[in-house]
């Protein structure tokens, strides 16, 4: 194969299908982001596969001019796992939503993460069921009033980052639909990671849950209501870069530089820490007492499932030789019945006919 790849552009990844999300939906921004970074990854176009489940976000593959698989509700990680396990040469991405990934497909999600299958999971979190027209989701906040919870939900939401960390995910990150440069960076880093990459993307559903993330993503509050987690950097935030987060005892707390603290007092983030405890603590942060963390919470190197699987096959073949069908069939205790009906042990030299 030639080492020179054709130069790909965003346009190469736009399919001829009319995009049918509601006008103003956050999904448009995520689609644009993915279409922008795919041509920059140095991968031939035919090697990309986008797999999805069911829900608004899961229409994603139809709009990408790559190989695509629009699956069934919740099963995208399982479909993608079978594909990646047998075709490790492919670049497999999953588009899923909070209902698809956290509710009906929760089992597949955690096991895919546990196995460190080399797939990139983009979970569009709009904290609502959109395609079924507005029921609460497993990430909706307690007390959420929806069509299926007219006086408020009484169940507690999942924190997707905590769930992913708890499942042993090796790459865990959070981005926001409207924060494009940041999101592009996250997705590029997800690609660079070997193994499962879980990226939660806050995504606005302007029909059923509008402005769900305004509290942290609106331009005027963003700097004070988010903290960008950067590997090797102290956790500093605020419009004036005048606040930070430090570890005190076994808890995180916000410190104000006006009180005599400085960046040197802040926790320096280590995304490669094999112990996920701090990442788990970070994942818990949010209003009213804390800014919402965004960025890469965890990024540790472990061999992927597909690598392990293929490696085992290669090792076995190398040490024992490629299996011969004849040997497989003609194994065990054999006996031969001759033309005259005589029985001899084993496979007789004469052609058995």
């Amino acid at each position: 194969m030639s080492t020179e790849l054709p130069v790909l552009t965003k346009k190469d990844f736009q399919s001829d299908q009319e995009v049918r999300w509601c006008p103003g939906c956050g999904d448009y921004a995520i689609l644009s982001c993915v279409q922008t970074i795919f041509p920059q990854l140095g991968i031939p176009k035919e090697k990309f596969v986008v797999v999805s489940g069911i829900g608004c976000s899961s229409r994603f593959p139809y709009y990408m001019d790559t190989y695509g698989f629009h699956g069934i509700h919740g099963r995208a990680p399982a479909i993608a796992s079978g594909l990646k396990a047998t075709r490790p040469d492919l670049e497999v991405w999953i588009a899923t939503g909070d209902g698809d990934a956290m509710s009906i497909g929760g089992n597949h999600l955690i096991h895919t993460l546990r196995r460190n299958m080399d797939v990139k999971i983009l979970m569009f979190n709009n904290r609502i069921y959109g395609l079924t027209k507005g029921q609460y989701s497993p990430t909706s906040e307690l007390g959420k009033v929806t069509k299926s919870t007219p006086v408020g939900s009484v169940d507690y939401p999942f924190n997707p980052l905590s769930l992913a960390l708890g499942a042993g995910a090796t790459f865990v990150a959070r981005g926001v639909d409207i924060m494009q440069p940041h999101l592009r960076d996250l997705l590029t880093r997800a690609h660079a990671h070997t193994g499962s990459a879980f990226v939660e993307i806050y995504q606005n559903c302007n029909i059923f849950n509008d402005k769900a993330f305004e509290y942290m993503s609106a331009k005027q509050v963003r700097a004070d209501q988010t903290v960008e987690v950067l590997h090797g950097e102290p956790l500093v935030f605020g419009k004036e870069k005048d606040k930070g987060i430090r570890l005190k005892g076994t808890a995180l707390e916000v410190i104000h530089f006006a009180d005599g603290h400085g960046p040197e007092d802040c926790l320096v983030w280590d995304e490669t820490d094999p112990n996920p405890a701090l990442a788990f603590m970070m994942a818990q942060l949010g209003p009213p007492d804390f800014p919402t963390p965004i960025g890469v919470m965890r990024n540790v190197a472990l061999p992927s499932y597909d690598y392990g699987l293929v490696h085992q096959l290669e090792e076995e073949i190398e040490s024992k030789g490629s299996g011969k069908l004849e040997d497989l069939i003609y194994s065990g205790e054999l006996w031969t019945v001759g033309e005259g009906g005589q029985v001899t042990r084993g496979k007789a030299v004469a052609d058995p006919g």
């Binding site: 190989y67 699956g71 069934i72 075709r87 597949h108 058995p352 006919g353």
Partner: protein, 624 residues
């Protein structure tokens, strides 16, 4: 002829030729009865007998010792002619404890040989088995020829000089029983001796102990003249060829590997452990040198979904399961139907509904296989009819899947999955050529364009430049594969998906009828009932009855000449291990009345039951 009929004319300890015998070894789970039965089978196979075996083990892994729940049994039938089943009733029963006796004695033929280990017939064990009095003393076994042997005591005596603990000595008891049975049926010991020496090559003292006890069992019978009559079964006249004894799940696994090799496609199995299908996962996991990938999924749904993903990527994709698992896979199977991807779904049926009878057999998933999905969702359904036939059926399932780009359901069941029979090994070059052509040419490519003959869409796998396309569960426009809600297109696609499956009938070979191809009665079956049906019909025909039988491998679609075949018989009898599922399909499809014969007792049909039913229908005398 069975031993007891011959026995009448036998003088003391005379060697009597018989044409077949059925032996059942029964004991506690820890008594090694499966191994004992397997050894008897191997020895008989190498003597050239035809044979069939049926194991029976408890659902619990370690059921309490000495209880009825803990009984493990292995039945083997050997014969000097072509047989089809592991036999109805044993001629000889080995009972290693009271529970084993209680569970099996009802099946033993009148005047059959009963060998019991008297050492185990003490009060505690008798109580555990629910005996109020000792059956060895109370006359309740008068109808059988009982051989009482202190098997445990004599085993220990044989090993007196050996430096083994009591537990280790106990473990070779089964060899004593096997030695006795070898004596009774005039089998040589060398096959088992060699096997023991190989198996315990690293622990020669264990091999030695087992060989000693095996010989002690034989010698005990010879010296004490235990049996009035000994029996001999001549080799069967099997077709020339190389044979091995094979269990259904093993044959199925090897068949899948063969299909992988003959298609050039890497084999992928997505599976979740479930009885009685797990052996397929175990066996294929061991075939890594054949490039076989096995994926133990988190659940049944993921197993099927992963198989679909693998198929999309160009693998020969398989999932294996049993009834409850098939139910969980339904939605994903429909995704394979909709995306028109080849997946082989192996359903090793067991007793249902719900968890049902995991270790016992049934054929009650036929309608689930046919219809257990939402929407109009036809797919090919084929069934294996015997342990060795699982090999051919697996290859055929693969052929249908990749030729027609459809998921295929392969039905087997616990009876043939765990049962065994001699398999006449095929020549590799005689196996079908399953090579497939992936689409590579972008010129004029559309994902849902169709092959004229099979209506299959092209298999265009990721990584192929210029063929980027999207598939999914939403209805697709024919040819372009674009999502379509157009009413006429949905009708067309529904018709096409059905037509694709229906066209398979064009290449199904004409039905083979055993017996006259027209007449009074046809016994029609599918799946694992073949042995009992063939045996029963042949017996009845030998008695002068006008009966034929035929067996279906293809259930969807039916063979195209099935309607014609049915019309040539006055009566049609359909025996099934369910409540009449094939009968329902036949009635619906051909609008003809059939006699439905059903059995759901977790056990296969006896040949004699089929024979009796044939007599009943034809108004003849009862079975002799």
């Amino acid at each position: 002829m069975s031993p007891e009929t011959k026995a009448k004319s036998a003088s003391a300890n005379r060697l009597e030729p018989v044409d077949e015998v059925v032996v059942r070894f029964a004991g506690d789970s820890g008594d090694g009865m499966q191994l004992t039965g397997t050894q008897f089978t191997s020895t008989s196979a190498l003597l050239g007998n035809d044979l069939a075996t049926l194991p029976e083990f408890p659902a619990e892994i370690r059921a309490p010792q000495g209880t009825l729940a803990g009984v493990s049994a292995f039945q083997v039938r050997i014969a000097d002619y072509d047989i089809h089943t592991p036999g109805d009733a044993p001629d000889c029963l080995v009972a290693m404890n009271p529970a084993a006796l209680k569970k099996s004695i009802g099946d033993l033929k009148q005047n059959g040989v009963l060998i019991v280990n008297t050492d185990e017939f003490h009060d505690r064990n008798l109580k555990k088995a629910g005996y109020e009095t000792n059956p060895l003393d109370d006359g309740s076994l008068a109808a059988y020829r009982v051989t009482q042997a202190e098997i445990t005591t004599m085993t220990h005596r044989a090993l007196e000089e050996m430096d083994l603990d009591s537990k280790a000595k106990n473990r070779s008891r089964n060899m004593f029983a096997l030695g006795m049975v070898y004596y009774l049926f005039s089998r040589p010991l060398d096959t088992t001796v060699e096997w023991l020496e190989l198996k315990f090559a690293k622990r020669p003292e264990i091999a030695e102990a087992n060989v000693k006890v095996l010989k002690a069992g034989w010698n005990f019978c010879e010296i004490t003249d235990q049996f009035q009559v000994r029996y001999e079964v001549e080799p069967a006249k099997l077709a020339p060829g190389v044979y091995r004894n094979i269990m259904g799940n093993s044959a199925l696994s090897i068949g899948l590997v063969a299909a992988s090799r003959r298609s050039g496609l890497p084999l992928f199995l997505g599976s979740y452990p479930i009885t009685p299908a797990s052996e397929i996962l175990h066996e294929l996991a061991g075939y890594k040198t054949f490039g076989v990938s096995t994926f133990q999924a988190e659940d049944e749904i993921a197993a099927m979904a992963a198989a679909i993903g693998a198929a999309f990527g160009g693998a020969l994709a398989v999932t294996s399961t049993s009834g409850p698992g098939l139910a969980l896979k339904s939605e994903a199977i429909n995704l394979a139907i909709m995306t028109e991807l080849p997946v082989i779904i192996c359903n090793i049926q067991r007793g249902g509904p719900s968890t049902g009878l995991p270790t016992m057999t049934e054929q009650s998933d036929l309608l689930q296989a046919m219809f257990g999905r939402n929407g109009e969702s036809p797919l090919p359904v084929i069934a294996a009819s015997s342990p060795a036939d699982c090999f051919d059926t697996a290859i055929e399932a693969a052929r249908l899947a990749v030729s027609y780009m459809v998921p295929v359901i392969l039905l087997s069941d616990g009876y043939i999955a765990n049962g065994s029979e001699p398999w006449r090994l095929p020549k590799i070059e005689d196996l079908p050529d399953l090579r497939v052509d992936f689409r590579t040419d972008p010129e004029g490519f559309e994902p849902y364009m169709r092959d004229e003959k099979t209506l299959a869409r092209p298999w265009a796998i990721p990584g192929t430049p210029g063929l980027e396309h999207r598939v999914g569960g939403l209805e697709k426009e024919n040819v372009t594969g674009n999502v379509s809600y157009d009413p006429a297109n949905h009708q067309l696609m529904t018709d096409l998906r059905a037509e694709k499956v229906a066209r398979i009938a064009d290449e199904i070979p004409p039905m083979s009828i055993d017996g006259p191809d027209e007449g009074k009665l046809l016994v029609l079956g599918w799946g694992s009932t073949k042995g009992a049906i063939t045996g029963g019909a042949q017996k009845a025909r030998a008695e002068g009855l006008e009966v034929s039988c035929a067996h279906l491998r293809y259930i969807n679609p039916f063979p195209s000449d099935l309607g014609d075949v049915l019309s040539r018989f006055e009566h049609v009898l359909i025996p099934e291990m369910n409540m009449g599922q094939l009968a329902l399909l036949i009635r619906a499809r051909y609008l003809r009345e059939v006699v439905s014969m059903t059995k759901v007792q977790g056990k296969p049909f006896f040949r004699s039951e089929i024979q009796a039913k044939i007599h009943e229908i034809l108004g003849a005398e009862n079975v002799h």
